[in-house]
């Protein structure tokens, strides 16, 4: 899904979403297509594999 949708679903503003995604990306847990800097993360395409959903939820929850 795109960054806008993920931000809306996780209740995160885009700058915090970008930071959380950076952490997940560093651990190779998500696939991100496109620029995910704070001002462009909305247009990025993010894929979270099912086996990483739990951890991704935790990271996003912590960022909130």
């Amino acid at each position: 899904m795109d960054g806008y949708t993920l931000g809306s679903r996780s209740g995160l503003p885009l700058d915090k979403l970008a930071a959380a995604l950076r952490e997940l990306r560093a651990q190779d847990l998500v696939i991100i297509k496109g620029d995910f800097s704070a001002d462009k993360v909305g247009e990025a395409y993010i894929y979270v594999p099912p086996d990483a959903l739990g951890y991704a939820d935790m990271v996003l929850g912590r960022a909130r």
Binding site: M1, D2, Y4, T5, G7, S8, L14, I31, K33, G34, G42, E43, A44, Y45, I46, Y47, V48, P49, P50
Partner: protein, 453 residues
């Protein structure tokens, strides 16, 4: 698991159950795996992944039966494999153990699934960018649309004041370079942030995107189109297969009949088939042999007929129906007899095959089976030679009692140490008896036997 009691169904029914349950499980697996891509069914790679997920439990079911871990006629095993094949690969199902390194086969499959997900993410990003760019170009090039878009963005903005502040510099007179695009960027971002999932519908309702664009890109239209195409292809394939298997009225031996006979021969000779499954196939083959006797031969299985009463098919001028009958009987019986030549054929398989031939003995069948049986006496397996010799003796006694074979044949007890020359002597003795009984035209070597077209 092989020892667990379960209803014993025909193998084709169990494979069908695995396939049908596998379809449901595969759909669910693909949806779970690609849940983050709402229109994942729009991509051919998703479909290849789906069909791979469908095939995996079917192949696993066959493999586990082949290795003896389960029986492919067990209803419970079919349901377990179809629904829980991932646990089986992970070794999490008690009683079903994958041999050797085979569980690691699942790892490349998982890696492939991940690659597909990555590829779909790339394509999705590309398509979304193209769609957005097309819509933005259409809006920015038309002042009316830009005004409508601005109205929409303000209507839905979370913070209208912040949006106003963001767009004010681009509304100055004279307009700075690229003002229209920058204005659109600010409005677009605001709308996307406030309506991340509904923005397409709002654009459509304001006539900023066409119905087709909206449906195709934002209502999973591509996924629906491709799903419909796949469903149509499957339906056409099913119709084509149905027509094909019911075709071939010219020879009287249709593809369906041929396939069912081959299926039951496989089951009949299968080493680890259940007793009930073998019995089912025995009954089927018996019925098929009975059904295949030519119309002008009135004797049935188990009813002795002398040569003078019913000359064998090959010794007569054959009518078309007799030709068809001959082809059918050859197709049913010769593969079973051919199996007897395999040196490591299981004793039970050899006994089953020879018992079936004796059960169905009749003059019309003998012309096909007897020469093939005689030739099969050359098998290196002395136990099977003994069985074949007894079978030939039983057929001779039942159908050709008037013509006696050499005494040496009745007294022959095949042994492990027999030389090929000794065996050939007995083979020739049986041929002499057969030629005396029906004439030389009846001799039809197994290798030259006609097969069903």
């Amino acid at each position: 698991m092989a020892g667990v009691p379960s209803p014993d169904l025909p193998a084709y029914a169990c494979y069908a159950i695995v396939l049908l349950v596998g379809l449901v499980v595969a759909r669910s697996s693909v949806n779970d795996l690609l849940a983050a891509s709402p229109d994942h069914w729009a991509f051919p790679s998703t479909w290849s992944l789906f069909f791979a997920y469908v095939l995996v439990p079917v192949l696993l079911f066959w493999f586990l039966d082949y290795t003896g871990a389960i029986r492919d006629t067990s209803l419970f095993a079919a349901l377990l494999v179809a629904a829980g094949y991932r646990q089986i690969f992970a070794g999490g199902v008690q009683g079903i153990t994958m041999p050797g390194q085979t569980p690691s086969v699942w790892k490349p499959f998982e890696a492939w699934a991940k690659t597909v997900a990555d590829r779909i993410a790339t394509r999705n990003k590309l398509y979304t960018d193209r769609f957005n760019e097309r819509v933005r170009n259409a809006i920015v090039s038309d002042p009316t649309k830009l005004a409508a878009f601005e109205e929409l963005a303000f209507e839905r903005a979370k913070d209208a004041n912040a949006l106003q502040a963001a767009i004010t510099p681009y509304k100055a007179t004279p307009a700075p370079p690229g003002a229209a695009l920058k204005l659109l960027d600010a409005l677009w971002r605001s709308l996307r942030e406030s309506e991340p999932e509904n923005y397409g519908y709002l654009l459509y309702k304001r006539h900023l995107v066409s119905r087709w664009q909206h449906w195709r890109w934002l209502e999973n239209g591509r996924a629906k189109l491709l799903s419909a195409a796949v469903a149509l292809t499957c339906a056409l394939l099913a119709i084509f297969s149905y027509v094909w298997i019911n075709h071939d009225a010219q020879t009287g031996f249709g593809h369906w009949e041929n396939a069912t006979i081959k299926y039951h021969q496989w089951r009949f000779l299968k080493g680890n088939a259940s007793e009930r499954d073998r019995w089912r196939s025995h009954e089927f083959l018996l019925q098929e042999i009975r059904r295949s006797f030519p119309d002008d031969v009135t004797d049935g299985c188990g009813v002795a007929a002398t040569r003078s009463e019913h000359p064998p098919i090959a010794a007569r001028t054959m009518s078309p129906s007799a030709l068809d009958s001959g082809r059918r009987l050859q197709a049913i019986c010769l593969p079973l007899i051919r199996e007897l030549r395999y040196s490591d054929v299981l004793p039970r398989q050899a006994e089953d095959a020879t018992r079936l031939l004796v059960d169905c003995h009749s003059a019309s069948l003998d012309s096909i089976t007897v020469p093939a049986l005689i030739e099969s006496l050359r098998t290196p397996n002395h136990t099977v030679r003994l069985l074949i010799n007894r079978t030939l003796a039983a057929i001779q006694k039942a159908d050709y009692d008037a013509t006696k074979p050499d005494e040496t044949l009745n007294a022959w007890v095949p042994s492990k140490d027999e030389s090929p020359g000794d065996i050939d002597g007995h083979v020739q003795a049986w041929y002499r008896w057969w030629h005396r009984t029906v004439g030389p035209t009846a001799h039809e070597p197994l290798s030259q036997a006609a097969r069903p077209s």
